[in-house]
Subunit: 311 residues, 2 copies
Amino acid sequence: MTSSAARKASGKPRRKPAAGAFFSVRDSVKVVQGRSGPKAGKRAKFLADTLVKHLHAFIKEARPSMDEWMQGIHFLTRTGQLSNDWRQEFILLSDVLGVSMLVESLNHEKLSGETESTVLGPFYIPDAPRYPNGANICLDGKGEPVLVRGRVVTAKGKPIPGALIEVWQANEDGFYDVQQKGIQPDMNLRGIFTADAQGRYAFRSAYPRHYPIPYDGSVGDVLKALDRNPNRPAHLHFKVTAPGYETLVTHIFTPDCPWLEDDAVFGVKQSLIADFTIVNDPARAAELDLPSPFREAVWDVVMTKSSRRQR
Amino acid sequence: MTSSAARKASGKPRRKPAAGAFFSVRDSVKVVQGRSGPKAGKRAKFLADTLVKHLHAFIKEARPSMDEWMQGIHFLTRTGQLSNDWRQEFILLSDVLGVSMLVESLNHEKLSGETESTVLGPFYIPDAPRYPNGANICLDGKGEPVLVRGRVVTAKGKPIPGALIEVWQANEDGFYDVQQKGIQPDMNLRGIFTADAQGRYAFRSAYPRHYPIPYDGSVGDVLKALDRNPNRPAHLHFKVTAPGYETLVTHIFTPDCPWLEDDAVFGVKQSLIADFTIVNDPARAAELDLPSPFREAVWDVVMTKSSRRQR
């Protein structure tokens, strides 16, 4: 029997798929969006449909070659595999593409008087030690001594007692403790403080230095390919929480850093540049158990009531 | 000395950053694109700038909450970490979002007569065994026996001797060998064949069945959230290479599969649906060392000269 006779013998008709049933470049967005079923979550579908629309627009404009597509797959895979409990390469990628700052800005539009927020960054860890106010979080003894103090208050200036102030920063050599396990003391330059009855907090630390973001991974490759600066201007991270108030994630920046206008992750806002004044007062230094002179930043945190924003 | 006196004493003027130096929602694309240096690779900069433009447009339209952003970070991280030598979750993600098919289609616009291409999928491995024509790649003995044969030719019908035909497919239970290490024989249903002097190739295998894409990972979560079908219609993968010709990555689909119009990865094209006729010819079956009846697909591969497309 010939193959064509066999086809007849099998009696199996070729299915005729509906016109437009298959993928096409022209209708790519519609075809993909159209596959969701009736039980799709409304928000999930909106997010996925919006992503597909913009992702396909990107592909149609950029027209990556098959090799470039595969490089993209490998890049994303490597970015995931570089991430662990101590390193989050996808946050870093989001940061250098301006995505973190964009999401952050859209979620925290500036309200008059309240402290502005900025990116979380990849080095936050939730279980830092709790300290009494005034404690020194600089466990490696490096760097220029600094006193940071201020109040946590409402927009009307009322204190918020019990607010938790989490702080973390890089050391004098430009690394966070989690980047130098076994080199820096554990939990170096991290701590959680509690605002007192007057809303006051205070801690001793080291004057922050600028540092490059981790540069040895996939995100470093992006910055190299684009001839971009990997440095972040010197800063100190804050995360402030209090019941009834929006969690505030922010930094304070030093005023004299040469990288203020070229932050690799776009985190600088004018209002977040603090004074770190040099204090030449040996008696006060002795009282604070700091060498003289030392630097002092007075930084009040103005919280936003949870009810002030609707989502 | 008061803090304000100390500030004067330090003599350090507050730097005045340039207007527009910092990130803003309105200028987010321009700010990020503007950071590339003069040594940026031209193609890298074009790809990155185009990505940033569409990615920021996505964020501005979707307005993810901080929690959703963090879920996105975790999702991408997990997708990378699920990938290994035997599983590529980012290819799967690209597949279900229609991105693979879009990139593939833009790179291989249909030329008259030449065989159309489709997605590679995540289960290709380059080092399958080489077999003589006619060999049986079905090592687990499961499924309906099938003979696949045809010629590798130019658009003018000239044979391309020596063309390499790599084939791979899922078994009767819907899994590729690499998904069932220790359950299926290694290299089950994979092989590399070589076109003979007349361009002919042939192999024995099992009639493909539809199967769900791997559903236990991050991509499965996406399909569940969107109430989408995870099934791929029954198919057999081909990758055909020959010096002077464009590498062809394609499938052939069976004509009677109920999932032809709802492929989870959008890979079906009308021209790739083959006949798999039932052959009732005991003598021919015996000659081919196949039971009777068996199925037969006659599938010619028409290659594109490398020079036919410019990039």
